[in-house]
Amino acid sequence: MVAQDIDLHLPQGVRYALIGPNGAGKTTLINLITGMLRPDAGRIALGEEDITSLKPDARVKRGLARTFQINTLFPHLTALEAVTLAVLEREGHSKTWWRPLPAYRGAIDEAHCILRPLNLEKAAYRLTRELAYGQQRLLEIALALATRPRVLLLDEPAAGVPKDESAELFEAISGLAQDLTVLFIEHDMNVVFRFASRIIVMVGGRILVQGSPQEIAANARVREVYLGKGRHG
């Protein structure tokens, strides 16, 4: 069983870190929440609304966005075009095929405003394919933010990003709006303890324990399974 009897409650505005050894089912959990995978049983709710049976794109419309562990971007679109596309989809403008893009000044400017805090502004007009790997990871977040989410799920946002740049990446994440609930998967413990306000530990498809960083650090079972003995990379 990859993930079972998960009971999770994410109050608004909290920064969650989801940690656990490889194969603990972290990405699967995100895929379940975002509707990429169908749960066999159980219920997923966003606020009061039950979104268990909604298709992924409908869940995004209701404010549930995600990024991917492996970059899934638009190689031949520029960063600005990609984020603008996400904004236009959110506003439902993508249905119109008779008005030219420059007419949507609002959406384009909003896209620019999303890029700026993630310091992607200077990369705005370059093709995604030509961006540095770290910039592409930031663009993943920009695309998710463009859907104006209430809950943002980041699947190893700093994966493959050199150490110095990942701190900068998480600075940008922590700078996000305060009313935004964020859950990110991360392996680097000092990043986790620095940025997360609450931590969830998953092992073997189950939630082992969840709590504040201090509680988790002090928790014997966590240390025994995850922190103490064979430290996992």
Partner: protein, 320 residues
């Protein structure tokens, strides 16, 4: 550069585009004896343009696109035979009907990808071809539809031997559909299509209803293909099973890839080069002309990957 200017820059009509469209008027002056050929090139270019919308811009590879071309041709032909021969209204009805057939089949098409998609489009096309053959009482079967008589355009311009009206009519309709396609490509909907082609997996993650987008572009492409089919039926007053054949679907795919898919002008350029080359080669060597066409295709792929426009773009990279 202000961000909106970036998109404005993309939409701006480049001088080479304007030159191209002016050049399409040259045959009236330079080659009056080739107007029939020019009209059939314009029709094929329109048909290739419709395929470009789904292949170049949405990534749908079709081996059965002639199905909608044929529906348009037969609609226009049957209309002219049984009802009235006025061309423009015939065009509208043919386009609408082809668009409807496109909308219906799009519900199947958008659910599949890769080889399954290609073979389904092939299968649907061949089924329609067989249906037209067995409904020979209506369609005239293999002998083709007889008795198609088209009224002069606006009751003034007769479709005569010299092809002046035929080329003017085909060119204007091509240009109109081109403007619509250009507007689509540079619209939010066009950007969404490019998103689907670039990464279909990401689209749901940004809240995009990919299948709805694909159904819409497939319907629009079917409509334009139907208009192209109607143009052929009207300017030649002939309709035969060949308009629904696998050969025509394969030809238009070759023409589009030759020109370069996903660049709007690929289909137009491909149609000009392919049909002029075929006309000249078969004039010189009626029995083995297709040897030289084969050689042309092989050479283009070797020298200019992604078609002629794709290859040229490598040499004159567009400033992003």
């Amino acid at each position: 550069m202000k961000s909106a200017d970036f998109f404005q820059e993309q939409i701006r009509w480049r001088p080479i585009e304007i030159a191209f469209w002016i050049a399409t008027l040259l045959p009236f002056v330079v080659a009056p004896a080739y107007l029939q050929l020019a009209s059939q090139i314009a029709i094929t270019a329109l048909f290739a343009l419709s395929l470009d919308l789904i292949l170049g811009y949405a990534g749908i590879v079709s081996l059965g696109h002639a199905a909608y071309f044929g529906v348009g041709a037969y609609t226009a032909g049957l209309l002219a035979k049984h009802a009235w021969g006025e061309p423009l209204s015939g065009l509208v009805v043919a386009g609408a009907l082809a668009g409807m057939v496109g909308y219906l089949t799009s519900h199947i098409i958008v659910r599949f990808r890769h080889l399954a998609l290609i073979m389904l489009t092939l299968g649907l096309g061949l089924l329609l071809h067989e249906a037209a053959n067995s409904a020979s009482a209506l369609t005239g079967g293999a002998d083709g539809l007889q008795g198609v008589r088209i009224r002069p355009l606006f009751e003034v311009f007769k479709f005569d031997l010299y092809g002046r009206t035929a080329y003017a009519y085909s060119l204007v309709v091509l240009f109109a559909c081109f403007l619509v396609s250009r507007r689509i490509i540079h619209s939010p909907f066009g950007l969404a299509l490019r998103g689907i082609r670039e990464n279909a997996l990401r689209m749901p993650a940004i809240g995009a209803p990919s299948r709805a987008h694909l159904r819409k572009v497939y319907t629009i492409a079917a409509l334009i293909a139907g208009v192209a089919g109607a143009l052929l039926a009207q300017t030649t007053e002939t309709v035969s099973l060949e308009v629904l054949s696998f050969g025509r679907s394969a030809d238009v795919l070759v023409i589009l890839i030759l020109g370069g898919a996903g660049r709007l002008y690929g289909g137009l350029l491909g149609a000009i080069i392919y049909m002029v080359a075929r006309d000249q080669f078969s004039g010189i060597n009626p029995q083995y002309w297709y040897f030289w066409i084969g050689l042309l295709l092989v050479t283009v792929v070797m020298l200019l990957p992604n078609g002629i426009l794709g290859g040229l773009a490598k040499f004159f990279p567009r400033k992003t």
